[in-house]
Amino acid sequence: MADDKEISELVSQSMRRKLSKEEQKKIDVSTAENEETRRFAALSKQINDSVMGLTIDDSNNKATLPSDVRERLNDSVAKAMSEKLSMSQAGLVTQAFAPSDLNQTDSTIAGNDDEYKEVVIRFQRTRKLAAGGIGEVWIAHDEKLGRSVVIKELNSNAKASPQAWDRFQREAEITGLLEHPNIVPLYMYGIDRRTGEPFYAMRFVGQRSLADAIEEHHDRVKVGQADKLSLHRLLNTFLDICQAIAYAHSRGVIHRDLKPENVAIDNFGQVVVLDWGLAKVLDESELALKMNDNCSLTDSSLLHTSHGEVVGTPVYMSPEQAAGKIELIDMRTDIYGLGGILFSILTGKAPHFSTATETNSKFSEVISKIADANPPSPSDLASVPSELEAICVRALSRKRHLRFDSAIEIAEVVERWMVGQSSKKISYEKLRMEGRELRADLQTQVHDLERNVSFCSGLPPVQELIKAVTEDDEKIWQKRMSTILIGLMEANPGYQSLAFGKFEGDDCTDIVRVEKQQGPITTVRRIPKSRLETRKQNAYMEKLSGRLPGELLTSLVHQSDSADGRTQVSLQSGIPVYDSETEEVFGFMIASCDIYQLLERQLGRRQFGGQITVACDTLNIMSQKISGQLNELSRGKAVAEIIPGLHPVIEHLQTNLEFIDAANSEIYGARIWFDPHVSGLMFLLNH
């Protein structure tokens, strides 16, 4: 037996549905027996009848508009009409189109009939360009103006969602309000007269995106064919994007989905920022100040963003977006987006590309990592100029206050880098030319030295001295030879000594030796026979004795000065002398230069204003010139102490003749070998 409560439920339901016979019988029994059930049934019916379909005309409880409300409503309507009028003038007017043959009518709204205008525009859809999120994008033909346009409309799923409609309209309104050369121009927004579905038409900007341009650039980088200008072209594109975003920010609009795919580059190189579907508008009062009087947003829903909603593209998403902290999203979110685009330009990858691949693209994990992860560093993925790396890392700071304050600021620092880079490139070219000339100059001097040694070794007195049997013969030929050598020394002020001698077991003995005499007046003298030395062969002499006829050996020779114990370094070029009759190695002809003097003379002649450092293979400085002044104090010091960060340069110069600092254009290195991979010098030039 049902209790009273259950019966009351049946009474309620009887007013909405037909009861079964059994249910109706229960009510009948209860109303006959129970006063309260009867009262409830009677009251409910009367209540139902009294208000069913109640209109205001038949109500005696008419509420009237309070005067203050009336005033507010009149103001709102007047404002909305004014906004609508400006929307009409901007081309954002109500229109309609059929699915494949777009036929729309415009009506501007105004106070009088005379002010209504009606036009018909026909669009013929030709090809679907893209589909995503809530919309589909088509290329269409504007039959009246005979031009191609892009039509965007809701996709079939989105048509069922009021939020998607709002978002779609918001996208159109924002795009329509942003008039900038780098923002896609909206031609019109319309409603299909038959289906009531919205669409809008935009300029067709071609199908090439910044993502394509970045991919092409990095493909060329990979195969070593990167055009030097292509990075600058991409950075110029980046500057245009910054300008568009700065303009949008000045209008209170945040894009929120900046990525290379949302930037089109048309056939003429015009850069156009697309897809304002996720854009957010700052608060209404602020917006009212930022918008021109004639520009407006007609729907307050434009200002709404779903709280806690994650919006954006994960691999380019800022930490605050990933964390769903909608209240933290502001212009600095777009600065992060710009940093993401710069990152992509520099590395060819999205900033969170590795995060996405590491987590196997599981959306929630990627989002969670992006929200918590440290900013990525471009140099982890590619060789990146250090200044651009710093700009990129700052723009991608997790902490919003550490990012650039505005899109203009980031554009300025990138532009400054580009300008500096151009002048830097020019000045680096000078650096490179200087380094190459220094090396060529020294090479010429070494060749002269070698040629002279070679010449001397072929002089007639050489063989005459080898076969001389009498002391008189020897004296005659020694005198003749020394005359020639003195003449050669005087003609070459850089030479320290010229000597002809013979090998004797492990020793070597000079036969004729002429030396430069340092003093108030520099003179060249012949060393008397009584003072000629027999000495142990050093490594250089040992190597020389093993050379074939005519085979030169040039090397830096380090030897301790017996007088003061300091190590002296000279540049020696020698050639073995063979007995023409026995064809056995007899001795040597060696020319020696003071390498310090040689370098100082060489550097002293240069007008170069930067820093030139010459280092030997022990990585000690041989000579240095800074801002036009020779720096003698640096001689003998380890080069790494004087110029930090040289390790990769020196490493490179072990196997290469040149180091070019492509990334930063700061240092140039040139290598000269005297004895290949044994003895040589390095020229290091920087500004």
């Binding site: 208000v51 069913m52 109500s59 009531g196």
Partner: protein
């Protein structure tokens, strides 16, 4: 086309639309809000007005939509479970004992079946009583009875289940019956 001049809408239809909204929403601020949204939407979508039927009817259609939207957003903000406001006011506890039987004198008054009451008077009392029951119950009652929406549409618009709808409706009817009987009984003019 003079009717389509929105400048005249507040003057010509303001009271009617506001009264309608107020009768459904029982809240002056909410009524003003939906009326404002209605007028702005009318301005914005005026191109869609086909010229068939009255402007008032066209604006009424928009208003009805806005009222449902308002209920939906109110329901969304209040939460999704039945317990949010229903527990706070379940008239069953005042009307039934623990065994589920009527408490004696649950309703102080009821019209006799033979006597027709002045409907306009009663509707005024009912609308007052709608303000005294939880909004979640009142909203489904308004949509179901006053707006004559079918159950499926209400469930869909408010994102509630059919059983939830029945519970709300029943509690609304119990609450209204109790409230109306008390108000009627307390006013000698209504008689019995």
């Amino acid at each position: 086309m003079d009717e389509l001049n929105p400048e005249t809408w507040v003057k010509n239809y303001g009271d009617y639309l506001y009264g309608y909204a107020y009768s459904r929403m029982r809240d002056a601020n909410a009524a003003e809000e939906v009326l404002q949204e209605t007028l702005l939407a009318g301005v914005k979508h005026s191109g869609q007005y086909a010229g068939k039927g009255s402007v008032r009817g066209w604006l009424m259609a928009i208003l009805k939509r806005k009222i449902i939207d308002y209920f939906r957003s109110r329901k969304k903000h209040a939460g999704t479970s039945l317990s949010d406001d229903e527990d706070a006011f379940d008239p069953s506890t005042a009307l039934f004992d623990q065994q589920g039987n009527w408490k004696p004198g649950a309703f102080k008054w009821a019209p006799s079946p033979e006597k027709n009451l002045e409907m306009s008077e009663l509707s005024g009392v009912v609308q007052e009583c709608l303000s005294s029951i939880p909004k979640g119950q009142a909203d489904v009652f308004v949509l179901s009875v006053m707006e004559e929406m079918d159950s499926n549409s209400i469930c869909e618009q408010l994102s509630i289940t059919p059983s939830n709808l029945w519970v709300r409706m029943h509690r609304a009817r119990l609450g209204l019956a109790k409230c109306v009987s008390e108000k009627w009984a307390g006013d000698a003019n209504y008689g019995g």
